[in-house]
């Protein structure tokens, strides 16, 4: 299996090529078949590879597939080795979890897309992009070096841009695509700086040697801290953390399954994956870890508050995603890397479910996204309501759903690290439960606010969309049992994610649990009680007494306005960054026009002047000399040409005369 690891990312490339080159001429069935088939094949291959990995002894779970040389090693001079890059794919427990999530959830979303995008004329284009995305995402998680990972990292960014701007004829979509792409560039710059700094210190870009060297204590602390912070900025761009989160809510302009796949389940978690992949580096730098934790906590809280006041169903989910990603970074920052990956996984399940569910709602209502025009959909869309219900209780942290287990692990570790961070995280969890309940209330419960025409045409989703939803609902409910905490009897379970991930992740010293079992139970009880209370409160507010909700909105109108406008962060960025950037552009433009163009024009005018001089010289001096010669010769030849009379007899006379002269001369001489 080791030798075929490269097939996992290459299979979707085949689908990408087929659909991209001839998809336009293929029937929709064939396009869908190819696109889903290659992803399913990738999933099967991944499952086989992971099975083989699981069969290895615990501490040797590592597969390496060096496919080809990309950049051959060059002697950089002075005995130093230059940059050498191989196409290296590696599989370890961490990337194993990732490829299963990516291909598994990816496959379900591909299948769902067949139904969702069925009416779209760009069907083949959509699946081409989606397959390319799968290939890039798998390259990202399987890449064994920064270089290969970076290929995937940029590739998913490209696909994200293409898919956000899928409806490219709508200016909003095209702008959102550009915003995502440009915001990501800022993070990517930091990522490249961090990567190249590591190369400068360790002479390689491959993860294994670098991380082994770091663990062995090589490299000065300040370099490691700087690198860790640079890479984290890169992760902030990709995973939408403060201050680079602004692109993700706008990215909802793309088709809904894309939001589910790229902007909830997989691509945006690449930053979390990267931080966990480099956990040995991060544990060497407590400063960087603190930054990660604080940024994550701040983002989690900040985005959750914005989510409270959004009316677009996808915007609520988008801010929820930003908030949950903050949660993952918080987990990584407090040293609970396995908690971060666990939450990444459960989040992939329930957030993909919620997005696809919202897609089903939007599909049913003919592309209506405003929750204020929904309501009472429970009776129209029973299946969608049921699966959405599963997603709702999972993300809110209802006991024994997947969200409960993963959030609980993070909360417990956060509490051990700092009660303040715990308080922020717990409050975020309460807010999450509240805005998700509000979403449920506005969408499914209560009386309908649809107009009569729309209500008549509401239709339940077709089977091809229903089955992925149900699968994801089951995963969202039960996925948590993959990592049951020890306090709830985890050591009796045959498998826990935490244990599986152990060989891939580092453990900071402070993380080794202090804190009693009683405290753990207490916190667990407290957080789930808070979540349930909030859900109950929200249920009452939005289901039973919607008029009270409106009254609350009135009472907190000021705060509501701030939240609804997302703290005016976009406007702030516009004023501080974008307008100043435009000003710089204009300054550069005027510099161009005045100085550069001025110089060019000066040169032009000088050239024209000189050429006039040159023309004058040519006409009067050079040509004059030539003409003078010609004229002189013509004038002087005027006399001579008279001799040539053309009369044969004048020539004969001349001859006779000449002969006469010669004879006279001869006689005179002799």
């Amino acid at each position: 299996m080791t030798a075929y690891l490269w097939l996992i990312p290459v299979l979707p490339v085949i689908g990408f090529l087929i659909n991209g080159l001839i998809g336009r001429r293929l029937p929709k069935r064939a396009v869908a078949g190819v696109a889903c088939g290659v992803v399913l094949a990738s999933f099967v291959l991944s499952a086989l590879a992971v099975t083989e990995l699981a069969g290895m002894p615990e501490d040797q779970r590592y597969m390496e597939n060096r496919v080809a040389t990309w950049v051959p090693a060059v002697d950089a001079g002075g005995g130093q080795k230059g940059l050498a890059v191989d196409w290296l794919f590696t599989l370890d427990p961490l990337s194993a979890v990732m490829i299963l999530i990516v291909t598994g959830v990816g496959f379900l979303i591909h299948v769902y897309s067949i139904g969702y995008m069925g009416e779209d004329p760009g069907f083949w284009r959509y699946f081409t992009y989606l397959n390319l995305f799968m290939a890039m995402m798998l390259t990202l998680v399987l890449g064994g070096s920064f270089a290969v990972m970076f290929v995937g990292w940029e590739g998913v960014g490209l696909c994200s841009y293409l898919l956000i701007g899928y409806f490219y004829w709508k200016p909003d979509c095209a702008d959102a695509g550009r915003k995502a792409f440009i915001t990501n560039r800022i993070g990517d710059l930091a990522f490249v700086i961090g990567t190249l700094t590591l190369f400068a210190w360790f002479g390689t870009l491959e993860f294994r040697p670098i991380l082994q060297a770091v663990t062995a204590g090589q490299g000065p602390a300040w370099v490691l801290t700087a690198v860790a912070i640079c890479l984290f900025i890169g992760a902030c761009g990709k995973s939408a953390q403060i201050p680079l989160y602004v692109w993700l809510p706008d990215a909802m302009a793309g088709p809904t399954p894309v939001s589910a796949l790229i902007h909830a389940a997989t691509m945006v978690t690449a930053g979390v994956y990267m931080v966990c992949r480099l956990s040995p580096l991060y544990v060497m730098s407590p400063t960087a870890l603190t930054i990660v934790a604080v940024t994550g906590a701040a983002t989690a809280l900040f985005a959750a508050t914005i989510g409270l006041a959004q009316n677009d169903i996808k915007k609520v989910l988008a801010y929820s995603t930003v908030s949950q990603l903050g949660y993952m970074f918080l987990a990584a920052g407090v040293g609970a890397f396995s908690g971060a990956i666990f939450h990444l996984m459960t989040h992939a399940f329930f957030k993909a479910l919620l997005f696809l569910g919202s897609g089903a709602v939007i599909h049913a209502l003919h592309h209506e996204q405003d929750m204020m025009k929904m309501g009472g959909l429970k009776k129209h869309l029973p299946t969608t309501y049921k699966v959405f219900f599963c997603g709702w209780i999972a993300i809110s942290g209802f006991p024994f759903t997947s969200g409960f287990f993963s959030k609980d692990e993070i909360l417990w570790r956060a509490f051990q690290w700092s009660p303040v961070i715990w308080a922020v995280a717990a409050f975020t969890a309460v807010l999450t439960a509240f805005y998700m309940t509000r979403l449920m209330g506005l969408t499914f419960w209560g009386r309908t606010r649809m107009d009569h025409h729309t209500e008549e045409h509401v239709h339940e989703v077709p089977g091809v969309m229903k089955r992925p939803l149900i699968t994801l609902a089951v995963l969202a409910l039960l996925g948590g049992f993959l990592s049951v905490p020890a306090a709830l009897g985890g050591h009796w379970m045959p498998f826990t994610l935490e244990h599986w991930l152990e060989p891939s992740l580092a453990h900071p010293e402070h993380a080794e649990g202090h804190g009693s079992a009683a405290a753990e139970y207490g916190l667990m009880f407290l957080s789930s009680a808070l979540a349930m209370l909030t859900m109950w409160f929200g249920y009452n507010l939005y289901h039973k007494t919607p008029e009270k909700a409106a009254a609350w909105k009135q009472r907190f109108a000021g705060i509501y306005e701030v939240l609804k406008n997302k703290y005016w962060v976009d406007e702030l960025y516009d004023a501080v960054v974008i307008q100043n950037f435009y000003r710089l552009c204009r300054a550069a433009y005027s510099l161009d026009v005045r100085v550069v163009d001025g110089l060019v024009h000066l040169v032009r005018n000088l050239t024209i002047g000189f050429s006039y001089l040159s023309v004058f010289w040519d006409t009067w001096v050079v040509d004059g000399l030539v003409n003078l010669t010609g004229r002189t010769i013509r004038t002087s030849s005027g006399a001579l040409r008279k001799v040539q009379t053309g009369f044969i007899q004048s020539y004969a006379s001349a001859m006779v005369f000449g002969m006469f002269v010669l004879i006279c001369l001869y006689m005179y001489v002799s």
Binding site: R641, G646, I648, Q649, A652, V656
Partner: protein, 100 residues
């Protein structure tokens, strides 16, 4: 026996008549005839001296000259014929395209 000097004077007269014909007449055929006269005056000179010196080489030369003259007439008449066909005239005054 006719003295050689008479022959030379006769030859001179003949040559002069030929030369004047060549220089003054405008008809190309007459010009040709002038040239023939001049050639034949030269032949008379050859023969005169041949007789006086008792050397047959002079007579041989005159035979050569007659042959060459025959060729010359053939070529000359051909030229005049071509001239007439092209210009509708054999008047040498009117053929002055070589005028400088």
């Amino acid at each position: 026996m006719i003295p050689t000097s008479h022959m030379l004077v006769f030859s001179l007269i003949l040559f002069t008549i030929g030369m004047v014909g060549v220089l003054t007449r405008r008809n190309a055929i007459i010009v040709m005839m002038g040239i023939e006269l001049m050639l034949n005056s030269a032949n008379i000179n050859f023969i005169a001296f041949s007789r006086q010196l008792g050397d047959l080489a002079g007579q041989v030369f005159s035979i050569f000259t007659i042959v060459v003259a025959a060729g010359e007439v053939a070529v000359g008449l051909a030229i005049i014929l071509a001239l007439y066909r092209n210009k509708d005239t054999i008047n040498v005054d009117e053929v002055n395209i070589m005028k400088g």
